[in-house]
Structures are given as structure tokens and as C-alpha cells.
């Protein structure tokens, strides 16, 4: 079971899990419910560098394609091949098996600009979701 309090979140419903200098990224449980059945994912190539806020991946359901921005700046060091083969992992296990890609973190101070779990829950409530 993922420890949500240890994750950081964006208003675009992404989560970030930091392990040393690596940040794992995925979409939240709230987002996967909203998106409904994920049928395709387009992940970045390893080695690609992103600035915070740049489009890094796309997740598609029957109704909509969602662009996901990099929550922090960094270089892609891992992508989740399993989720490319079976996009339903994003729905089944959004915080664990359904992670999307991992970045080598360029600037750790950017992490502090992201929401805590409680702040994210408040945001969802306030945003009229």
C-alpha cells in the first residue's frame, strides 16, 4: 500500500515519489477514476530532459487524451514498460504498478513547490470535482 503522505502532488493530478535522487511519477487515484478506463499511454524516452511544466506523457481513455506535464525538471531515467503493455495498470494500481516514468531530479527545491497529500485533498474538494 502506498504511503500517500510521503508523496507530492500537482494540481494536474500527478504524484511524485522521491527515492534518493530519482522521482517516480504517476497519476492519482482521483485522476484515474475521472479519466475512466485508460487504453493507451505514451511515455517519454529514457534520456530525454524536461523542464518543470513541460508536456512529458499522454494518457488516453475512451473519451479523452490527457497531456501530463513534468512536475519537476529532470532527465528521464526509467519508464514503466509494463504500463505501456497493459495501460489498465494505471486504473488498477495508480500509486504502485501504474507508475509512468522516473526522472533524475535536477533541482530538489522544486519538490517543495508541489502539494502535500492534505493540500491535494483540499484542492480536489475546492476545485468542484
Amino acid at each position: 500500500m502506498a504511503e500517500l503522505e510521503k508523496l507530492r502532488f500537482t494540481k494536474a493530478h500527478e504524484w511524485l515519489r522521491v527515492e534518493g535522487n530519482i522521482g517516480y511519477i504517476g497519476i492519482t487515484d482521483h485522476a484515474q477514476k475521472e479519466i475512466t478506463d485508460v487504453v493507451f499511454v505514451e511515455l517519454p524516452s529514457a534520456g530525454k530532459e524536461f523542464s518543470k511544466g513541460q508536456e512529458a506523457a499522454v494518457v488516453e481513455s475512451v473519451k479523452a487524451a490527457f497531456s501530463l506535464s513534468a512536475p519537476i525538471s529532470g532527465k528521464v531515467v526509467k519508464v514503466n514498460d509494463a504500463v505501456e503493455k497493459d495501460p489498465s495498470l494505471v486504473n488498477k494500481s495508480p500509486y504502485e504498478d501504474g507508475w509512468l516514468y522516473a526522472l533524475e531530479i535536477k533541482d530538489k527545491s522544486e519538490i517543495d513547490t508541489l502539494l502535500t497529500h492534505n493540500e491535494y485533498l483540499e484542492f480536489i474538494k475546492g476545485a468542484g470535482h
Binding site: 479523452a64 497531456s67 468542484g128
Partner: protein
Amino acid sequence: MERVWRLILDEAHEPHMNMAIDEAIMLCQKNGTCLPTLRIYRWLYPCISIGRFQNLDEVLMWGSDLPIVKRPTGGGAVFHNEFGFTYSIVYQEKSSVLPRGVLDSYRQIHIGILNGLKNLGIDAVLYTSERNGRRSLPPKVCFTTPAEFDITCDNKKIAGAAQRRMFEVVLHQGEVSLSLDVWPDWSYNKLKYAILKGLSKQLSAKFVECCLSEKEKILAEELECYLRR
């Protein structure tokens, strides 16, 4: 409260330009400079638009001679012909002109269109499916199988749509396809005004006719070159 929307009654364009214009409107909304926008447009010639993730080679194997263009949105292939009515809606998620959720926004838009169709005497309904925990997959051809909140008439899908969500901006691209057996009095203008009326009422929208901005035009031209590659 009634909200002001931009209405762009566009001329017919080449398929790539039509997609480029929709994308340009979406990208310009990112900076918060535009009003929510309804664009109604036609195609210079019949063509097929395919979803962002659809495999072009697979579609080419269908053997159709029609030109094919990729949409920025998801979903299945759509055949655009003389009986089609194509539109796009672009708005910022935080603008509150539509509910934030995908299904909720989709439903609101299609209720507006449905009401327009009913005013033309078309006996259409909003399709709702029993999910029963089953995963739904997108059909390869959009109009073969209705999905939740599509519009059907005699169990045949007559309106569908797909969305792209990027930088908190929503691009909703939709198609209403009425054959003569569904609506023998087929008229593009009657359909256009009925749908406008239906959407205006459902979305509490006051549509003000506008043109694309210079910035949108320039961006669309750049995007078209990119899409053609």
C-alpha cells in the same frame, strides 16, 4: 448566469488545417487570453480523421482512398462526408463554463446538441451503458459503437466526440452525422442553428460571432506545416 462565448463559423478547410486550427485555439487558451470558443467548420473534401493513438498503417489497410488526418484528441476513426456536422469547443477548465469532469462535460455538451436535434423532430436519445465493471475499449471506427453519453437514434450512433486535456485547457471535438433515413429534410444550416440554440440554452452561453485572432491564425499555419510532415 449567461456567459459570453466566441462563436467561429469557419469556412471549409483542408483536413490538416482544420486540426491545426483547433489545436491553435487550444494552445492560445493556455495563456488565458481567449473566451471559451465554439468553432463550427466544414471540410474541403471527404476525409477520415483518426484518434491520436490510432495506428495510421492499420487504417491505411482498410483500403479507403480518402485522405487521413490525425486528430489531437483520442477516440476512433470518423468519416467526414457531406452529411457531417463538425464542431469543436475549447475552454479553460477553471473557467466553470462546463463541469470539470470528462464525463460530466461530455454529457452537458451532448444534452445541448440532443435538445437541438429534438427541436428538428429527430427522435434521438443520450446513450447510457451498464458498465458492470467491464473495461470499455474505444471502437476503431467511432460511429460503429456508442459510448457513454453519445447520441443515438434507433440504436444507431449519430453524434460522438473526444477530448484533449492539456495545461488545464479542454479541446472537445465532436461530429454529428445524420443520414437521410434519420432526417429526410437534411439541411446544414437548419442543423447548425438548431444545435447552436440547444447548446446556448444548455450551457447558458451567449454566442458572439468572431474570427480567429492573428495569433491563432499564425500558430495554425505553423501547426499545419508540422502536421503534414
